[in-house]
Amino acid sequence: MRVSLVIGAMLSAVFVSLAAVSLLWLPYDITVLDIAGRLHPPSASHWLGTDHFGRDMVAMLMAGARTSIAVALVAVGIGIVFGVPLGLVAAAYRGTWLDEAIMRGNDLVFAFPSLVIAILITAVFGASAVNAILAIGIFNIPVFARVARGGALPLWTLDYILAARVAGKGRARISAEHILPNIANLLIVQGTIQFSLGILAEAALSYVGLGAQPPMASWGRMLADAQTMIYTEPQLAILPGMAIVLMVLGLNLMGDGLRDALDPRLRKAGM
């Protein structure tokens, strides 16, 4: 059962380190076009060949990883920073108008088709990586709010919460000191899942041209650019496609493995 965690973590780590390296160093400058050297097959100088503008595919994939991870990470961050407190408040005031207001607001956001709204947002405010982040991030908020509330509700009935109330602690303080640490594992697992969904969403937005704009590299954009040459130069589509699949697979495996590893009940039974 630890196998999925290890494989998932290794896959994710490969892409994260590629993205990290790309911040400091790339094998070739991806802003420089070399039309003469376009569509080279893999060689010693260009390990995975070059694309239709003569840009090195290794450099493009590395820079694309950076974009994907940055967008998904910030979007998950938005979800956690806004969603978790909302969920904790809803749980702390369970059954009151505040709980109702938060959760019905959640339902409202859930009711919208997220990718369509993301397209709308980027279409209205302009296509850019920042707007893509915002569009994806907004739809992460209700997810984390619901997970946080769901995890917090059963905890509120436990004796140690009652003991903390007898010790005079308020709801905010109990939520921060007692509830949050005990739902952290749920949030971490949900975080990895939302992270992988964020990468898919970013790829989708870039694919339709509403995500990161050139010269910024993006896996989705690479797919879109390769589309016309799919029969002549299939590797141009296959490489970014594989990158997306492996990264998402890695994150999902890691999420599954983390859930097993962090849940004490599963841990006891599983080993």
């Binding site: 004796d159 140690y160 009652l162 003991a163 903390a164 007898v166 005079g168 602690k169 000191e177 005990n182």
Partner: protein, 527 residues
């Protein structure tokens, strides 16, 4: 009483040993059960009682290593393949579990659940299965309950009856009951035990009754085996076992399960906690309905009642976590309520029932015990005070660095008491504080409590459903029923001469060991 030497035995367990991951959990357990016989298996938690039951049913985890033989009418169950075991379970051996709240599937009607068991083992049409289900539910005293009712519509006692109907649906030869009444109120317990006794007599079933309660086996079993650390330390006919008590462990169990009555009623001081006509309603339900009492300094006040009587609601009102809808509570003259000043709360603390749910599992003991300092402000010598509190309840200073999972149930209740004492309160509310503990551990915690009361002049409100404990630790007792106090008085007088019919019913329902069996063993007696 049935015959002593079991003739051709129904179930014969011979040298049963079970190890899980290298740990020996059962060692050479051997006993027989004759047809129609009631065998009591007694021991504390972790002694291997339930594991024995699971081994008989062939329900041990896959990782376990089992040796020895379990013979049902001569056939060794340990060598049977899983398919044959599935057929055997339910048909030849029925089982009842402790928790009636989780033993039934909440989304199926009770009729469907009983009928399903029938159809699983027998070719029976839907109508036949329903007819059998009706018959079995009538047999367990649920003739007024329809087959189409869902478990949540029934009380705990009724659910346990449904579980029994499930277990006896196919008229098995052996019924295993694992703590069948531990989760039930004392008056419900009597009814369920009566039902089991009738079933054994009328249907000719044998019963393996697993319990921690010596009083229950004394009233039920033909023979008793006492289990400790995976071994049977003593086994005999019930009366002979209680009369001789050869093994020191049996004697220790008995002594601990009958705590000595409180000797000298402590002198009472000024009033510390007062309730005047307190009421708390949830919609139309009057959870607490006009409760008044005064708790004096150094006094122990018992509050007895069955589940749903309003004890827990009253506790939360006394603690100022919920407002009183009518009446008032005052603590050392300060009105108690959700808005009371935090510093005033420090005079009153609480210990809860569940030693496992009482602590945030991610905090160290030092932080857990220091939490009530939130009320008073953290003093400069907080660490020293935490260590002093831990030592006062019999724990070591080094325990402060550990996490709660490193402690046993009894140790955790000591930590809970240390946490409650850290602000030097005058009043301690003990909400079923020893109910989840084994009898010997319970006796130790009760000793800690009475010692602390003497040294610190504490006042206790002791809430419990267990009359023997209330009797051992309280000066005065209140009996609560449906939100009202139906009787109040000096503990000994209430117990010897109960005025309210409900009090008398509670006292009579408590299972007892016949006095004549115990001559010369233990000093204290019921009446």
């Amino acid at each position: 009483m049935s015959a002593l030497a079991p003739c051709p035995s129904l179930l014969a367990i011979d040298g049963l040993s079970v190890a899980i991951q290298g740990t020996d959990l059962l060692r050479e357990v051997s006993f027989d059960i004759a047809p129609g016989e009631v065998m009591g298996l007694v021991g504390e938690s972790g002694s291997g009682k339930s594991l024995t039951a699971l081994a008989i049913m062939g329900l041990l985890p896959d990782s376990s290593d089992m040796r020895g033989a379990v013979r049902l009418e001569g056939a060794d169950l340990t060598v049977l393949p899983e398919r044959a075991l599935c057929e055997m379970r339910g048909r030849d051996i029925g089982m009842i579990f402790q928790e009636p709240m989780t033993a039934l599937n909440p989304v199926h009607t009770i009729g469907a659940q009983v009928a399903e068991t029938v159809r699983l083992h027998r070719r029976a049409s839907r109508a036949e299965a329903r007819a059998i289900a009706r018959d079995r539910l009538d047999r367990v005293g649920l003739s007024h309950i329809g087959l189409d009712r869902y478990p949540h519509e029934l009380s705990g006692g009724q659910r346990q009856r449904v579980c029994i109907a499930l277990a006896i649906a196919l008229r098995p030869k052996l019924l295993i009951a694992d703590e069948p009444t531990t989760a039930l109120d004392v008056t419900t317990q009597t009814q369920i035990l009566d039902l089991l006794r009738d079933l054994v007599r009328d249907e000719g079933m044998a019963l393996l009754l697993i319990t921690h309660d010596l009083g229950v086996v004394a009233g039920m079993a033909d023979r008793v085996a006492v289990m400790k650390s995976g071994q049977i330390v003593e086994s005999d006919t019930t009366e002979a076992l209680f009369r001789t008590m050869r093994h020191p462990y049996t004697r220790a169990l008995l002594a601990a399960s009958r705590p000595a009555a409180r000797v000298a009623p402590s002198t009472v001081g000024a009033p510390v906690l007062e309730a005047h006509d307190v009421a708390r309603h949830y919609g139309a339900t009057r959870a607490v309905d006009g409760v008044s009492f005064t708790l004096h300094a150094g006094e122990s006040l018992g509050l007895v009642g069955e589940s749903g009587c309003g004890k827990s609601t009253l506790t939360r009102v006394l603690l100022g976590l919920e407002p009183a809808d009518a009446g008032r509570v005052s603590l050392l003259g300060t009105p108690v309520g959700p808005e009371m000043p935090t510093a005033a709360r420090a005079a009153q603390q609480v210990v809860f029932q569940d030693p496992y749910g009482s602590f945030n599992p991610r905090w160290r003991v030092a932080d857990l015990v220091a939490e009530p300092f939130h009320l008073t402000g953290r003093p400069a010598d907080a660490e020293a005070k935490v260590i002093a509190a831990l030592e006062a309840v019999g724990l070591a200073a080094g325990d402060a660095r550990k996490y709660p999972h490193a402690f046993s149930g009894g140790q955790r209740q000591r930590i809970a008491i240390a946490r409650a004492l850290i602000t030097r309160p005058k009043v301690l509310i003990l909400d079923e504080a020893v109910s989840a503990l084994d009898v010997r551990v319970r006796a130790q915690v009760l000793d800690v409590l009475s010692d602390l009361q003497k040294r610190l002049g504490l006042s206790y409100v002791f809430i419990s459903h267990d009359l023997s404990v209330v009797r051992a630790i309280t000066d005065r007792v209140m009996v609560m029923q449906s939100g009202r106090i139906v009787e109040e008085g000096v503990t000994n007088e209430v117990f010897f001469n109960p005025q309210a019919a409900y009090t008398a019913a509670l006292i009579n329902a408590a299972p007892v060991i016949p006095e004549a069996w115990l001559d010369g063993h233990v000093g204290w007696s019921w009446a």
